[in-house]
Symmetry: C2
Subunit: 324 residues, 2 copies
DNA sequence: CTGTTAGCGCTTTCAA
DNA sequence: TTGAAAGCGCTAACAG
């Protein structure tokens, strides 16, 4: 019995002879060790539990793939949870996963209640991706949203745009806040550099196509002046393009449009979207690797703070010089 | 100990007094039963293991969501596997999940080797979605691909198109074969009904944007006559539209284009794509429900054969009457 | 190098 | 209605 265990987990000393015998018998019996029993005995399930806001949103599957690939490398399996961007449901998943228990959690959180989350998680290690919560631990992988937003606005300003409609994300999500901060910072910087005045009309709302469409229509109806639309994500930008088309405004000839995220779709629409690439897959990989490192090394393994990934501007056909 | 178990699993007789006491203690101690230990004792993990070809492909996440939602309803948790459309990797996941063991498997399979798959699965119940394997059990949820293709071609014929370029999928995938069969059947039927002759130029290739683009360009260069392009999926259709644009042909004024799948993107591009809706989410729900029904009922529960879902034509802006 | 033994944390008879 | 006790299938410490 113990020898079988030693052979199959490749641990401890076994004579070649008995190894052979065990392997042969296992082959004949089609024996597969029961992972549940193993987990109970070892105290480790070798399960990682990433929880994402919405798997049908084109951005998150890439993160999930990153997590999955890194996990499989280390012989871990992944249980994926969908929070629907709902704090309640996220909590449900966190509790389910923590009860299993999974060895570690990876969260793209929709919650703002650090205490409640902390309690549900218990003492299991966790790494946050992208969205951070004040008062929560430093284990996190982020992209520099402020820098990404600045890149976009700088690009538009370089093209001569001075009046810009900004389609922001939900005010309570940290990444949306950071992008807005980036827009403001870059506008201020350009003004200081004598390239101003830059006039940015800010709007706020959900990250959806419909929201982008409606806000653009409303801005047009209100005669808000703009020669470019900067959106806080690609889906919003696509909504804006659709709205502009229905009003007979061509992109990029009449109005330039930029997105954020570089979803697959961004390069396929016409005109292809100028946007910011987020290393989504890589973020998943890094988060999983951080988690695994923490699991493998028994020492407390201090964290040096969040890893910050650099965004990159991708210029495509949806932006053009402003008509003077 | 036993009483605690009875209270927390709401099973067996417990006096209100001890129930209270247990609940209160559990609250104070923040006690959460360990699912692994429970699984070992009961022999059921309450885990369902769907395996999909690629989570980053816009179609499959909807199926996964369906599975997940149905599973959660019944208090099951879902472990998602990604096969990368690779039979080897699919087998790896099947084995991992079977060893856990998950209570049941849901497969959108990329394998063609029924025997090998059967062996890896063992005696765990399984339901196939969409793609079927000859010689494999009848538990399956499918969409009627032949009917869907016929709907598309009938629509084009109704609009007066008689020369059509067909962009087919890979010849070895069952769904692609069925769609091609539908196209042929409908063309034959229309000819018989005196609406012919219908001239369909068939091409075959991968399901990608690039493939759609290239095959359309090649057809144009070869002076293949057509007033409409019918594609075996939406991504191909988008490639075709792109190709037509680069040659100065407007859609739908000069050439009509149809897709298949109704991915989110289909309604967002301009012109919005005429395509066939696949009830992806629903397929996931049904598959999970079939599986759960089989798990809950202990009797062998005979299967009446695959469930076949009906596709639906969605007419949008990418098709218009043929110029005579 | 190998076998014996005592759990892992829960469920489930069975007797009280 | 409750508690005692025997596993579920594996691992890990220990003695041989």
């Amino acid at each position: 019995m113990a020898t079988v265990c030693r052979v199959l987990s490749a641990r401890g000393p076994v004579s070649p002879a008995s190894r052979e015998k065990v392997l042969k018998a296992a082959e004949i019996l089609r024996y597969r060790p029961n992972s549940v029993a193993r987990a109970l005995a070892t105290g480790s399930t070798r399960l990682l539990g990433p929880i994402v806001p919405d798997i049908t949103n084109p951005f998150f599957p890439h993160v999930a793939r990153g997590v999955e690939d890194a996990a499989r490398q280390a012989n871990y399996t992944v249980i994926l949870g969908n929070s629907d961007d709902d704090a309640e449901q996220e909590l449900h998943y966190v509790r389910t996963f923590a009860a299993y228990p999974v060895d570690g959690l990876i969260l793209i959180t929709s919650s703002a209640d650090a205490a409640q989350l902390r309690q549900a998680i218990g003492d299991r290690p966790v790494v946050l991706i992208d969205r951070v919560i004040p008062g929560f631990e430093p284990w996190a992988v982020r992209t520099d949203n402020e820098e990404g937003a600045r890149l976009v606005l700088r690009h538009l300003i370089d093209l001569g745009h001075r009046a810009i409609l900004y389609l922001g994300g939900p005010g309570n999500i940290s990444s949306a806040q950071e992008r807005l901060a980036g827009i403001r910072a870059e506008a201020a910087a350009a003004t200081l550099a004598g390239r101003g005045p830059i006039r940015v009309t800010e709007t706020e709302g959900s990250f959806s196509f419909e929201s982008g469409f409606q806000r653009t229509i409303m801005a047009l109806d209100a005669d808000v002046p703009f020669t470019a639309v900067a959106a806080a994500n690609d889906t919003l930008a696509l909504g804006a393009i659709q709205a502009l088309y229905t009003r007979g405004l061509r992109v990029p000839e009449a109005v330039s449009v930029t997105g954020y995220d570089d979803i697959t779709l961004a390069r396929l629409v016409s005109p292809p979207l100028t946007t910011v690439t987020q290393p989504a897959y890589q973020a998943g990989v890094i988060a999983a690797e951080q988690l695994l490192a923490r699991l493998e090394s028994s020492d407390t393994h201090e964290c040096s703070g969040p890893v910050v990934l650099k965004p990159r501007l991708v210029v495509r056909g949806s932006t053009a010089p402003a008509r003077m």
